[in-house]
Subunit: 162 residues, 2 copies
């Protein structure tokens, strides 16, 4: 296993890396994968004015995980964690937590004080919820039957310490 | 006072009408006004694939209120009510409730079962919160200090009856 490297710039090839990771995780349906990929495209087209920031985690010159985050329009110092995904070959290795910590420090550097994440209450996303809870996020809201009947939206927040 | 007319198509002039209404209400700062206007522009550029639907309420050939709403990506039958605004000259006349009812019926026609609205807990938005509560919305979540210290995000939902 090579060293883990983090980078914040976005390249054309990242569209392919993100597509590969989202497909391989098995967490996202076709529509969701398309949305995830479209955020990379939008960032490549519009630059930082897209509002989408990325951190890519690379190992042996391959992207193995990434986060997409950005300032919430109209909000003083809150950031959304839009996506965080780890290639299944690397899950359970702590890469997700290290990527999250890197992302949080970046957000703090940009003046952010809170990071928001949303996920589903369904069984498929139990590991996602545990990931947030183990990494200092608190469940602050829950919208019942949001995604579908009996599939609630879980609203998490982490208050960042400068 | 002329009759109230509702229309769903979007014209170039609507950018100006929305700018005028958002400026005149006094509820939105410059950044928020820009976001509101940008949704009309995006709709004009991209059409329905923008994801933004509009209802304009007209009286004497002038737009006096509008709503912007759309299906939530990745959500089975939930719609977001992104914006609803009434020109101050017409507030208190019931136009907001009629516009909301028209919007709800349109969403039902499109297969929507729930309409979500978000607003702030601050004193400025008390009339907005009362508007939602009087029109059948329920407060389902609250994110503390979301917009700014002591300025919470209030998450409302209305379950639509077919």
């Amino acid at each position: 296993m090579g060293d883990l490297m983090f980078r914040e710039n976005v390249c054309t090839d990242d569209t392919l890396s993100v597509a590969r990771i989202l497909r391989r995780t098995g967490f996202f349906n076709a529509e969701e994968q398309e949305i995830g990929i479209s955020l990379v495209s939008e960032r490549l087209q519009k630059g930082l004015s897209s509002g989408y920031l990325f951190v890519f985690a690379e190992q042996n010159d391959q992207v193995v995980a990434y986060s997409c985050h950005g300032p919430i329009p109209g909000v003083l110092d809150g950031y959304d964690l839009y996506w965080i995904a780890v290639d299944p070959s690397c899950q359970g290795s702590g890469i997700g937590s290290r990527l999250l910590a890197y992302t949080e420090n970046r957000v703090i550097g940009l003046g952010g004080a809170r990071l928001y994440a949303e996920t589903s209450s369904s069984a498929l996303y139990e590991s996602t919820r545990l990931f947030y809870e183990h990494n200092g996020f608190a469940l602050e809201g829950r919208l019942s039957d949001y995604y579908a009947p009996s599939d609630d939206k879980m609203l998490y927040v982490k208050r960042l310490i400068r």
